[in-house]
Every structure is written in structure tokens, then in C-alpha cells.
Symmetry: C2
Subunit: 159 residues, 2 copies
């Protein structure tokens, strides 16, 4: 199995990566007694097609090929479900969605977004978690959700 949390978008076996994500999603939904319907699974698959965040309307375009009746609410409902189950994240600075590499563990994701190639890596970094918690604590703030999106150039594009 591919290492999680440190996926190298430019070098890994992506087919296995998608399969892995879908299998994990199926397991989690079964455990939780929620329905990963064909529609939802298809949307999850579309989001996982690359390691680049994908817009809701791009999902819609792709989804329309197999689900002619798909409309914006169709997509947003599926995306909301998937986010609720922690299977995807929304990248706020791009208004786009990305498969979660740590599905099952409830968390806000932290992302490195390459502005050149678009590849976006979800990082899991305990030190960063701690620093964020501490920063909130110092301000007497009760943190519930963290949006951390660092954009710049990935190792590949920075050359």
C-alpha cells in the first residue's frame, strides 16, 4: 500500500491509490451504517481522479456522462455527504474538493498547493497541529476547525 500522508503526486501508482481510497471509503461507510451509494461513490471516484482539487462543476461535467439527470444539487449533496464522512476535504482558497488521505480519522486537513501544476498534498504534521492548537489557546479561543492551505511551488515544479 502506498504511504499515506506523504503521497508524491508525480511519481506514485495512482490507479492503486484510487482503488485504495474507494475501498477504505466502502469499509468506513459500512462500519458507520451510512450509504455509499453508486452516485456518491462515483463522485468520490471523480474527486480522486487526480491529486488536484476539483471544482464542483467539473465534477458535475464528469458525472453527467453516467448520470444524465445530474444537476448542481446532485453534486453538492454528494460532496456534503463525503465531507461529512471525512472522505474528502474542501480547499477553501480554490473552491474545490480533494480526496482525503486520512479518511476515518476526523481532522481538518492541512494542504500544500502547487500553483504551477495544481498538485495538492495533504500533510499530517503533529508539530503543526500543536502549533495551531497552542496559537488558539494563547488567544483563549476554542478551535473547532482549521483551514490551513499553503500555496507555492511543489518540489517538482520548483526544480
Amino acid at each position: 500500500m502506498a504511504a499515506r500522508g506523504a503521497v508524491q503526486a508525480h511519481t506514485h501508482n495512482h490507479k492503486a491509490c484510487i482503488e485504495d481510497a474507494l475501498a477504505t471509503a466502502r469499509e468506513l461507510c459500512t462500519e458507520r451504517g451510512v450509504q455509499l451509494t453508486p452516485l456518491r461513490e462515483k463522485v468520490l471516484q471523480i474527486v480522486w481522479k487526480s491529486h488536484k482539487p476539483v471544482g464542483a462543476y467539473d465534477v458535475l461535467d464528469e458525472l453527467s456522462r453516467s448520470h444524465k439527470s445530474a444537476r448542481p444539487p446532485t453534486v453538492y449533496r454528494a460532496l456534503d455527504f463525503l465531507m461529512g464522512e471525512g472522505l474528502i476535504h474542501k480547499i477553501e482558497s480554490l473552491n474545490a474538493y480533494l480526496g482525503c488521505v486520512e479518511a476515518g480519522a476526523p481532522h481538518s486537513g492541512h494542504f500544500l498547493i502547487c500553483r504551477k501544476c495544481g498538485a495538492t498534498e495533504e500533510i499530517v504534521d503533529p508539530k503543526l497541529e500543536t502549533a495551531l492548537d497552542q496559537a488558539a489557546k494563547r488567544a483563549s479561543f476554542r478551535a473547532e476547525r482549521q483551514v490551513v492551505e499553503i500555496s507555492g511551488l511543489c518540489a517538482h515544479c520548483a526544480g
Copy 2:
């Protein structure tokens, strides 16, 4: 003068706070040889009316009172200018804009957003900066911009 970087939205003298921000903006623009026109200054003032992020269309509504010809591009151009000069920040998770408490020092802002009262505090935390830089570095990523938006409950609303 109010402490910067640790403004307590529920307790401070906000009139002085706005005046201070506008004065700083005027100085900076003069130094830089860019024009803080009446329109731009008015938009800056509107954004600073509270410590809550304000949407572009809310700015438009308010701006329309004095500038009848104001349209969406009017507002977005002013907001773009103000962001370019580092006088305001965009809160990506809310699609809204907030006055910058550290105008003059180029930086990505880090924010604590109360989901109950909406008050949003820009924090300046060197440890957090370092943790973010380190996280990017560990992934061989060349960071250019950081979006850090922590939402939850402020000290006031958490009781």
C-alpha cells in the same frame, strides 16, 4: 493606541481603531506613491466598520449610499487594490474581507474566526509562522502564501 495583533473585539475603542487604520493606510500609500483615492478609502473604512469579515456585496450595499454608480467591479477593484497594498485580507472560508492589523508588513494573515459572533481576530504568532515554514520545508515545498483560518468560539462566546 490599541495593542495591535491582539485586538479584543468585544472591549476596545473601535472608533479609534478605524481612525488608526485609515491613518496608517494614508501614510503607507503616500510612501509608496500609490493612490488611496476617496473611493478606495471609503471601501477600506467600510471593511473596518467591524472586526467581522464583510462580503463584497455587503460592501457594495454600504458603498452605494455615497457612490450611486457603484457596481460589483467598483468594489472588487478597490478590494484588489487594498489587498495588493496589504491593507486588508480575504478570509477564504467565508468569501469575505477583513482589515489588516499589521498593514505595512507583508504577510499572510492567520485568523481566529468565531462562528457564533463572527468576530475575527488576526493573530501574529512567530511560533505558528515557524511551524508552517517547517512543515512546508519538510515536504520540500516552496511556500509563497499561507491561508490559516481557525474557526470555533472566541473567549467571549465560549463563556
